[in-house]
Symmetry: C2
Subunit: 119 residues, 2 copies
DNA sequence: CCTACAGATCAACGTCTGTTGAAATGTAGA
DNA sequence: TCTACATTTCAACAGACGTTGATCTGTAGG
């Protein structure tokens, strides 16, 4: 991930409705959520959400697939992980005091126990 | 860190000059950088950078101190780490496949070897 | 005290972003 | 094929954001 892409991702996450949408999709897991359900969850009109989802998709944070009449959106875990890694890489430029607490937090969270192979 | 603060931090990082400023300050370490040097590094006029630094400071990502005629800015490591932890916390809502690659990345970076106590 | 320097503040401007409502696209069932 | 449903696209508007230039505050040195 280059700076331009990270910039787009951060800008996307800096918007209330988009951040909520991403969080909802991350929570929903790989099964994802239909656009209509997502609109209701986020609390925004469908056409408006569609605008935001397009931007999130362009930023590589979510992906979409059609299922019958509905369009199912799901979190792009690879893109999200790239963004986190970008942040990690930045904070490691000779100053581990930034990353250390994050590592500690990860150690306390369920993620550390899951044996998941990186994408 | 609540959603509002994370929102402000993400929005701040979603702006080219601000992202560069934060990265430069993180790279510079606790010693920080004078506003003038930072302006030259980022490539933006002093008064304009001042505007951005104020926003970054308000978002809790940087801090400032005066040294003679200069004002020295430095990365607010606690704030940055809070933001990372916020992201980590989000991605752990039952779906470790997001965090796992990030953990792997941390393992490969120098941060894992530094014995730094969390703030 | 006065000058020079380093930043910060302010108002004004152009531009980008998000929202709204209406219309268009694509899909499933009768 | 026709209708209903789910979602997207489009144009237009208000509002927020970033930049610029001038002005103000605070600090060091003569």
């Amino acid at each position: 991930m280059d700076e331009r892409q990270a910039l787009a991702a951060f800008a996307a996450l800096g918007q209330e409705h988009r951040l909520r949408a991403v969080r909802a999709l991350v929570t929903a897991g790989p099964d994802g959520l239909a656009a209509g359900v997502l609109a209701e969850t986020v609390g925004v009109a469908g056409n408006n959400l569609s605008f935001h989802l397009k931007e999130l998709s362009h930023a590589g944070l979510i992906s979409a697939r059609r299922a019958g009449k509905s369009v199912i959106y799901s979190a792009a875990y690879a893109g999200l992980s790239d963004l986190v890694q970008f942040l990690m890489r930045d904070c490691c430029q000779g100053h581990p005091e930034v990353c250390a607490p994050a590592v500690a937090a990860l150690g306390a969270c369920d993620c550390a126990t899951g044996d998941i192979a990186p994408a």
